[in-house]
């Protein structure tokens, strides 16, 4: 059953919703196959991710995944964020991963059995990847 209590709860979280007006970085992601979109706003404090918020719409999986990701990211360095990202992908593609690093994100473990939903889950993570790699650029929402 893909819709665990954790996922249902996290899909409804409101606290990370919204814009950060003076964000250091804004990154958009979208899921080709379903039209889901997410925009991530980042605030950095030196090398640390000090705050993240998001706007967008999508299914329960992508919403829950975005909330859980943000919760896990805040307070981490960019390098740590990269590590988390790598381990999230490992989890989805059935490879070894460090569950310590992922914390509550491991609640999405079963999603890997639903190939069509892996994309929903990965939407915020792929967007994070863009943000981390594209440092310096600051695209505006069209």
């Amino acid at each position: 059953m893909i819709y665990s209590e954790f996922i249902m709860d996290y899909s409804k979280l409101k606290k990370f919703h919204g814009k950060i007006e003076n964000a250091h970085r804004i990154e958009e992601g979208k899921n080709l196959s379903c039209g889901d979109e997410v925009t991530l706003y980042f605030l950095f404090d030196g090398d640390k991710i000090s705050d993240v918020k998001f706007e967008g719409h999508g299914c329960a999986i992508s919403q829950a995944s975005t909330n859980a990701m943000i919760e896990q990211l805040i307070g981490k360095t960019k390098e740590e964020a990269f590590e988390i990202l790598k381990n999230v992908e490992n989890m989805m593609f059935g490879r070894d991963f460090d569950d310590q690093l992922l914390g509550p994100v491991t609640n999405f473990y079963d999603v890997k059995n639903y190939p069509m939903r892996v994309k929903c889950f990965l939407l915020p993570w792929k967007t994070l990847e863009l943000a981390l790699n594209g440092e310096g650029k600051k695209p505006l929402k069209e």
Binding site: M1, I2, Y3, M8, S33, C34, G35, D36, H57, G58, C59, A60, I61, Y114, R117, C120
Partner: protein, 421 residues
């Protein structure tokens, strides 16, 4: 509770034809309501195709040996069946790999033949599937024609008014290319009215959704071209057909070049074969074409008019039952022009989640997404009273579905609504 068009006995035979209907999905009997994407495959058609491949197959035409002769006869017989099915001549029927291929071929060939030129206008509608939209808008860049739209109202419906408005706005379109039925709103288009309104245009009908359940007579419609896919009417994938009026096909430059379609080839130039071979370059999908022929045999053995009435009955029931759910928003027209499928949304639940729970907890296969009609989503968004998710859930029926299937869907939707509350 199958449609009244089938006796219990007839329906029982139908069910046996589609083994997957006896399958369990997530512990439930499969309820297959994704027919608009592609239909199930029948034992009769597939086993005849198997027999052909294993016992009579070879490449066709141009060879004098026995197998080639048998295979050629089978292939050309299939063409005759398709021709008869749509009331055309055999030479007017070209096998293609499907609807998408057929439309791409027409756009390019019309341009290459000078039948569509820079500055000319092509008129399509706002409800077109990407197959009848993307080739036009993308190739218009390379070839300089213009694309204009018949607008849909905010339920996604094309009205006679919107057709007349398009006529007054667009000066003599060279081509009008229109779907026979929308795969999102389920609307069966007023083709006769469109034909009458644009008398001088080359009329192309995208028959993908319509032909599986409604008789299309190309002569009666006075259509210049018709394209469709076999896989939406229980034939295998990879095969479809393009009909064109003989006089137009004669003038039309081919889309694909290669073996079989030629007359004489030198190192400098080429002349083409006669119709329809001119449009069938390379080794055809021989097995697919033969299977499409068997498919028509099978559908006709059920009585195609029975299939049509069965779909009408199921469509009506589906629309009625969905309308009773106050948390469901339905798109498309609310009359008998709405056939075979319904797109809808549950207020506050994303279509992907709806489809997922229907599959997991009820064994129901529905489709959710933009249904290859992204621009139409923005039209539907305007008319929507909910927070429109840029996509919809779609349930679609074929002749092996039952009212019980629809009841299970309704039950499932109530559960989904409660679950995501």
């Amino acid at each position: 509770m199958h449609s009244t068009e089938w006796s219990d006995e007839a329906f029982c035979r139908i069910i046996q034809e589609f083994p997957v209907l006896n399958r369990e999905v997530n512990g439930k009997r499969l309820v297959y309501l994704d027919n608009a994407a592609s239909t199930l495959k029948s034992r009769t058609v597939i086993s005849k195709m198997t027999d052909f491949y294993l016992n009579h197959y070879s490449n066709i035409h141009r060879a004098v040996h026995t197998l080639a002769s048998e295979a050629t006869t089978e292939y050309e017989t299939a063409r005759e069946k398709v021709a008869r099915f749509i009331n055309a001549q055999s030479e007017e029927v070209v096998f293609t790999s499907g609807t998408t291929m057929g439309i791409n071929a027409l756009v390019n060939s019309l341009v290459r033949s000078g039948m569509l030129r820079e500055g000319d206008t092509v008129l399509i509608s706002q409800v077109e599937h990407h197959a009848n939209l993307v080739p036009w808008i993308r190739l218009s860049r390379f070839f300089g024609f213009k694309v204009e739209y018949i607008e849909a109202d905010n339920t996604g419906t094309i009205t006679t008014d919107s057709i007349l408005t398009a006529k007054s706005r667009v000066n003599n379109p060279k081509v009008v290319s229109i779907t026979g039925q929308s795969n999102v709103t389920g609307q069966v288009m007023p083709i006769e009215f469109i034909r009458e309104t644009f008398k001088d245009a080359i009329l192309i009908i995208d028959g993908a959704q319509l032909i599986p359940h409604k008789k299309i007579d190309v002569k009666a419609l006075n259509s210049d071209f018709l394209v469709f896919s076999g896989h939406k009417m229980i034939a295998p994938t990879g095969i479809g057909a393009l009909y064109g009026k003989r006089a137009l096909l004669e003038r039309l430059e081919p889309f694909l070049y290669g073996g079989e379609m030629i007359d004489k080839v030198t190192f400098e130039d080429v002349t083409f074969n006669v119709l329809p071979y001119k449009f069938e370059a390379g080794t055809q999908d021989i097995g697919g074409a033969v299977a499409l022929g068997y498919t028509i045999d099978y559908l006709e053995s059920l009585g195609f008019e029975n299939i049509q009435r069965c779909i009408e009955e199921l469509s009506k029931y589906l629309l009625e039952e969905l309308s009773k759910l106050d948390f469901v928003e339905i798109y498309g027209p609310r009359d008998e022009t709405h056939q075979s499928l319904v797109s809808f949304n549950l207020d506050g639940v994303h279509p992907h989640d709806v489809s997922q729970v229907l599959d997991e907890d009820f064994g129901i296969a529905t489709r959710s997404g933009h249904h290859c009609a992204q621009p139409l989503m923005s039209v539907l968004a305007k008319g929507s009273r909910i927070d429109f998710p840029n996509s919809t859930v779609r349930a679609s029926v074929y002749f092996y579905n039952t009212k019980e299937d629809i009841d299970i869907l309704i039950e499932g939707l109530k559960y989904v609504k409660r679950w995501f509350g």
